[in-house]
């Protein structure tokens, strides 16, 4: 039985919809960044070790963004962590298992407390 507060459900639907849109909007440009970096790494013009190192940094950074986007896409339920100045942030490093949800009830989240996943049950 779904015991979730209607506002929680609304917020989660909105969050999932934002995650889906972000996924699309980020992955398309990432395809270009990674594809062109790969092309430059294959190009003898970029054989200079310093240039290659910088291209590798671009590639690895793009992969990190990709990883975050995948985590965002697989977010089945918001998991919060406490960020700087007590602001609650979505924690993308944790598995989205309700059993490991971080309690982050205090501090300037822009939404009301109804949206605190740690309070749902």
């Amino acid at each position: 039985m779904n015991t979730r507060h209607p506002e929680d459900q609304l917020f989660q639907d909105l969050l999932m919809s934002i995650c889906g849109s972000l996924n699309h909007e980020i992955n398309n440009p990432l395809t270009c960044i990674l594809g062109n970096t790969e092309l430059l790494l294959m190009n003898p013009v970029c054989d200079n070790p310093d240039v290659r190192r910088k291209l590798k940094v671009i590639e690895e950074t793009a992969m990190r963004i990709q990883d975050a986007v995948v985590r965002l896409a697989n977010l089945s339920e918001p998991v919060y962590a406490r960020g700087p100045a007590g602001v609650r942030l979505l924690d993308l490093r944790r598995p989205c298992d309700p059993a490991v949800r971080e309690v982050g009830t205090s501090g300037g989240h822009p939404m009301s407390d109804h949206h605190d996943s740690s309070r749902k049950e």
Binding site: G20, N23, T31, C32, G35, E38, L39
Partner: protein
């Protein structure tokens, strides 16, 4: 040896240029289209071994284009492997099921991908089509 002909359909010009150039470097002959309908028309009017088809396209989406072309093939059109490309990675299992059932596409790859992964899928698809 004759180059393998590929039809690449995506509405983002930068992506088309990047993938086209990468595939040409690997010896493929690449034709392009920028929307679902012109992709469908090109695929019907020409002979390609593989189609790389974005899902979110203006006109007709990739699922529809794939289904229509696969139905053509069931009615005797020349076989062609179809790889769907999508940027959204939500509901993976559902999507995989949808790809293999409703859209009838042969494979699916998620953006961003490494060209190596795409070419591996293309090669295994070519082997399957030829078998």
């Amino acid at each position: 040896m004759e180059a393998i002909k590929v039809l690449l359909v995506d509405d983002e010009q930068d992506i088309v240029e990047t993938i086209k150039y990468s595939l040409e470097l690997r010896g493929f002959e690449v034709d392009v289209a920028y929307d679902g309908l012109s992709g469908l028309e090109k695929a019907r009017a020409n002979s390609y071994s593989i189609m790389i088809l974005d899902v979110m396209l203006p006109g007709k989406n990739g699922y529809e284009v794939s289904r229509l072309l696969k139905e053509d093939m069931e009615n005797g059109a020349e076989p062609m492997g179809i790889i769907l490309v999508t940027a959204r990675k939500l509901d993976n299992e559902l999507r995989e099921e949808f790809v293999s059932t409703w859209s009838k596409a042969d494979a699916c790859i998620y953006k961003p991908f490494e060209m190596e992964d795409l070419t591996e899928k293309m090669v295994s698809l070519l082997e399957a089509v030829e078998a």
